[in-house]
């Protein structure tokens, strides 16, 4: 099964929920909190609705990969950013900050170029 009426309905609910949620944030006060709650419920309900109809579709050309490795890859990428930010406070010298920024970028790139593709390609369907 491909695109269907349920998908359209749940995307509409997603948009309505997001709009009401934003209206709640904008208005504030008692009415705002009420709208915030209603919007959040609609938003979350739309996601679970999409989850429900997802199972109606056929299999995809993908195999589940190691989830922990994917999250670890994301953590490595984020760590690189942390190194760069930490480096800004570690040293006041421009040269020192350039070096720490380059180290941070290298760590992030390692996560993107090595760890994450490794995680997603480990059980890649084209390998079998």
């Amino acid at each position: 099964m491909a695109a269907n009426k349920s998908q359209g309905s749940y995307y509409t609910l997603f948009l309505v929920g997001a709009t009401v949620l934003c209206a709640g944030i904008y208005l504030g006060g008692g009415m705002g909190k009420l709208l915030l709650l209603v919007g959040a419920i609609g938003f979350i309900a739309s996601l679970f609705g999409m989850l429900k109809v997802r199972s109606l579709e056929g299999p995809t050309a993908m195999k589940p990969g190691p989830g922990a490795m994917k999250l670890a890859g994301a953590a490595v990428v984020l760590l690189g950013w942390g190194i760069t930010l930490f480096g800004m406070h570690l040293t006041p010298s421009v040269g020192g900050r350039i070096i720490t920024a380059l180290v941070g970028i290298a760590v992030s790139l390692f996560g993107i170029v090595v760890v994450l593709p490794g995680a997603f390609n480990k059980n890649a369907v084209w390998k079998s």
């Binding site: 709009t19 904008y26 996601l47 999409m50 995809t60 990428v77 760590l79 350039i98 970028i105 170029v113």
Partner: protein, 559 residues
Amino acid sequence: MKKIRSWCLGLCILFFGLAGGVALYAQGAAPAAAKAPSTADAELAAAAAKAPATADLAKGDPGGTITGTISDVPAADSKVGVTLPDTANQVGQNKIAINFVWTLVTGFLVMFMQAGFAMVESGLCRVKNANHTYMMNFFVYTAGLFSYWLVGFAIQMGGAAGNGNLGGLQSLTPEHTFTLFGKTWGMFGGSGMFLSGHQYDVGVMVIFLFQMVFMDTALTIVTGACAERWKFLTFAVSSSIMGAITYPLYANWAWGGGWLSQLGTNNQLGKGYCDFAGSGVVHAVGGLTALAVCLIVGPRIGKFNRDGSSNPIIGHDISAVLIGCFILAFGWFGFNPGSTLGASAAGNLRIGTIAVDTMLAGCTGTLGAMLFMWIKNGKVDASMSGNGLLAGLVAITAPSGFVSTVGACIIGLIAGVLVVLSCSFVENVMKVDDPVGAISVHGTNGLWGVLSVGLFADGTSNYGGSWNGVTGSVTGLFYGDASQLAAQLVGISTLIGFVFTLSFLINLGLEFFVGQRVSVETEIAGLDLPEMGQLGYPEFVFKPEPSVLLNAEKSYAVA
């Protein structure tokens, strides 16, 4: 004798009375003399008297010499006529009007780039996915615009008050901040949701339109990289979230008064992070998000063989690709020169230099990619030449406001070669399938563009005497300021480390809830009928796909 004395006394009283009356009259007249027309007002009155009469104008003005005179300057008091304050107010409004019109028209050009993206991306896809790819490019405009109006603009520009080019935008306040190590850093805007309340303002509407079309450009980059297998529902949800959160957050940090723009004032790193028109904010954000989604959604069926080697999957319409590239190059004249947010005052006459820099970088980008492919493969590769043009344009986007024409040529040439190398690396080393090369064109070269500001900015630009609150002109390493390079590297690290991770986690969540990829059945049939209910070209007869792809599809169908 007594009578004569009485007459003399009477005459004296009369004389003094007349003298006193004259003096009093003179005192009364003195203030009137102070209110007399000044020289300037007198000149204005004289000019008004010489202005062409209605009868003159009725005869027509073929030479354009009598249209637009002092008669067209509105007077606050019609009885007094045009005064110096009236003239000064009109000059001020003219400056803002010029800047409004400039920003709006260039924004319209950027909006038209959506058509270019649609043609490039669809042309590089197979014909069975043409409708789906066009439709993604069409709907991303709506999805992005709506979510940007809801909350995205508020996050990005909700604290960006103080832009003199557009009249101050004073209603866009406050910026939410946090304090770290004794310094205050901007995080996200605090006003502008639904463009309501104090943000119902003429200047705010102009900046909304301009920033919105930039945001939409970033969103449409992802659709190309994930084409031919991305589920439409997931694309719609993902694009809505990107337009509401991912893009606006980084754009605030760079353009909305956020912490990256404060690296100069807070950390003495050059003029802070400088991204004139969005190599980082627009293109790298789009390219890195495309990479994140591409990793999750996986390669198309038949793209990679069992040994890891890749198969070319040829697009269906190279003419659409090249015409689309030209449309994009045309739109780029809105992208870069428009980012001055004005054509009048504050150094904005540099728009000519910016436009020429843009042309030249696109030119050398094309040369770099085309010659590299010609020398390497013996043939000119049309699609890669197009990508070279786009790569040059992407790379010059950040530095276009700060570099010379020679710098622009070098930046574009490097981008043209870089895009070819990057496409090969992404496909053959990372095993990521990007049908249109969007990750390399926008991601890799977006980052190169950000870096090049820190190298090639020549210190000649002067946009009102300061940039990001730091006095002076943006100057890169090659012109003596290494600290600007440091600021650019922090920006690059934030793009790779934070923006990529945020996009990755959001789309990993969507993979769980919605599922990123269409079913095998849908993918083999082509996404047009299962996802759109209609073929892109229903009356065409298509030749079968290459055997390597057919065999791969058969093996999946059997499995």
